[in-house]
Each structure stands twice: as C-alpha cells, then as structure tokens.
Subunit: 192 residues, 2 copies
Amino acid sequence: MGRPREFERDAVLDRALELFWQRGFDGTSMADLVEHLGIGRQSLYDTFGDKRAMYLEALDRYHATRASLPWEVLDQHPLRPGLRTLMTSMVDWLLESTHGRSCMLVAAAAERCPADAEVGARFCANTANIERHLRQRLERARAEGDLGRHHDPEALARFLTSTMYGLQLSAKGGLDRAALLQIVDVALSALG
Amino acid sequence: MGRPREFERDAVLDRALELFWQRGFDGTSMADLVEHLGIGRQSLYDTFGDKRAMYLEALDRYHATRASLPWEVLDQHPLRPGLRTLMTSMVDWLLESTHGRSCMLVAAAAERCPADAEVGARFCANTANIERHLRQRLERARAEGDLGRHHDPEALARFLTSTMYGLQLSAKGGLDRAALLQIVDVALSALG
DNA sequence: GCTATTTTGGAATGATCGGTCAAAAATAAA
DNA sequence: TTTATTTTTGACCGATCATTCCAAAATAGC
C-alpha cells in the first residue's frame, strides 16, 4: 500500500558509503549526499534516520561487503606463503583503492574516535575479527609444527594486525609498493 | 609604535594546537578558538591569517616542540635495549596522552590527506625524520657488528616506523599496555 | 597634546550546516 | 471512485560556519 519507493535501499547506501569513504563524516554534507544519491532529502531521512545513523549503516555495509580479506588463501597454503600472499594483496589493495585512501573503518576510527563510541565499537569489532582469523591460522600452524612452540599465536596475531595498520599509514606516507613489501618481509621474518 | 598586543604568539599557538589536536581541524570552530585562546577574533585573523594557516602553524609547532621521541636513549644504549626503551616510552605516551589520542601528525594525515597536500607534506616529513633516526642507529649497529650483515637498515627503519604507526591504531583499538608491549617484543624479534 | 599606527572587541556578513514541514504524487484497499 | 497510506519534492528552519567591517582603545614619535 502507499506509493512505492523509487530506489533500492542498498544501492543508495553503497553510494553513500562511497562518499563517506572518500570524504569522511564531517567532509560529507547532506547536500552532497542528496546530490550524489539521486534521491530526495526527505526520502533520505525517512529511510536512514539522520546523518550519523546513515554513516553507521555505511560502516556496517562496508564491513559486510568490502572489508573482507582473502582469508581462504591462509587456509589453503602453508603459513608463511599464505601470510605473504595475504599481506601482498592488502598492499596492492591499498595502492589501488583509490587515490590513497585506506580501510574505511580505520579512517572512521581516526576521524571519530574516541568521540563516537559506536564508531569505535565497529572498528574494534573489525580488529578483533582480523585478529581471530590470524590467530586461528597461527594456532593450527603451531599444532602442525610449522610454528615454533615458543611463539604465542595471540601475540603474533596482534602483531600482524598492527603491521597491517602500520602499512595503511605508511602507504599514506607515500611509500611505494616495493617499500611496503619490504615491510611485509621484515614483519614475516618475526615468525622465525 | 601602535598599540602593543596583549598576548604572546607562541602561548596562543600552543592553546590552538591543543584544541586542534583534541578535536581535529573540522571539529574545531573559530568560535571554539576565540573562546579558549583568550584573544579576540580579529587579533586571531591578524596574527595567523585564516583557520587553515593557523592549523598548519599548529602542526609545525607540534613537530618542533612535542613530536620528539627520546632519540638520545637510542645512541646511549645498545641497539635492542635502546629500541625497546624507545618503543616502550612511545606506548606509555600513547596511553597517557590523553584519553586515546595519538600523534597529532598522524591524526592530521588521517583527517586531511589526501585532500590537503600541505598536511600530507608535514606528515611525510615527520615520517622521514623518524626513519632517518632509526636508520642511522641501525647503520651504526651494523657497522659495529650488533646487527647481522644480511639486514638492510633502511628496510628495518621503515618497518619500525610502520610498527610505531601500527601501535597508534592498535592503541585506538583498545589494546592495553601489556598487549602493546607484546607487539613491540615481536617486532624487535625481527632484528634477529 | 597631536598624529600616525596598531590592536582590540563586537557586531555583522553571506554561506552552509543538519534537519523539518507541508503539499503534491502515486499506489493499494475499499 | 473514494479513501488511506506512503513517497516524493522543494521550500524552509534556526544554528553555526569562516570571515570581514568598523569604531574604540592604546601605544610611539613628534
């Protein structure tokens, strides 16, 4: 019943995500959104609530549809080659995607933390997720003898996660692909 | 000649720095500045130009007066203990300073890059500076036999810089002191 | 004291901010 | 066709934004 809406919610959210990712929360105005989303201002408010709610939804959609690293290569390859492939694909993603912007959740945390706890929570959840994937693979490697008994999978997982974050800022700092891959090499040498 | 100004430029700039550091560029309004700086609006514009110019000056002052790590401990101690002390002091600085904000230049780069090239240039300059300190110490260690000949001081310096950046985001992610120091330990183990 | 020069404080600028209102338009159920 | 319900559209809101204007205030040289 009632007039049918003339847009797809997810398609609009994807466009909003793109804007927020490019320009950040403060850098994106409702006028910008109305202009690029192709729907009216009121429809926007009716559908998403307000600007912050839409931003949080965009973060969730980012997490659900774009933040995925190729974890399967971790499981399908020996520990170190798998990690190198994973980190290399991340470096390439950082360099292509696009004109030097990094993971949206990292950018969001940098811009809105600790002011906005909801943003912080999403950033932490993503961090914990990455750590979990890495830790599980490291535990398996340790059980299978690919990783020395003296290593702590949890500490290593945190270290590798931190390394990924470091790569993002280093890429922003202008390091080229070769330099970033050197960082990956040194980091992986910590696995012994 | 003329009426003397009733404030010290650097003292005002320090207070502006503090506000920009806490709230970011977009998060700080000229009204906020007028309120907290203790000088009139017009004096502010006469002295610093406009908001962005004042922000860039605040970044420069941050770089000059606050961004300094205790590099002397690097020179005065053996390589690994010196690096551990340096990184530990950085972790403690991150945890105290204050309520989860990180290096102002990192925050500035995250908020304003790549939109503002001047901000990016200052971030890169700071990065290069950190790298230089580390590389020089690593070169000395290599010359003195404290570091294996197979290591590349430049690559290691970049890795350690990246690690420091990673620590900042990890701290934002809520990791406690013990976890951050574990990351430092793993990172330093890459020096062999 | 007088004049030139500079700083100061407060009012005002137009633009833009996020958010709302109300009427028109489009559908489904009756 | 009428009625109820929903979406759309565009005008509109007060607040806030960075910035400027201007006259009063305070000094130095004369």
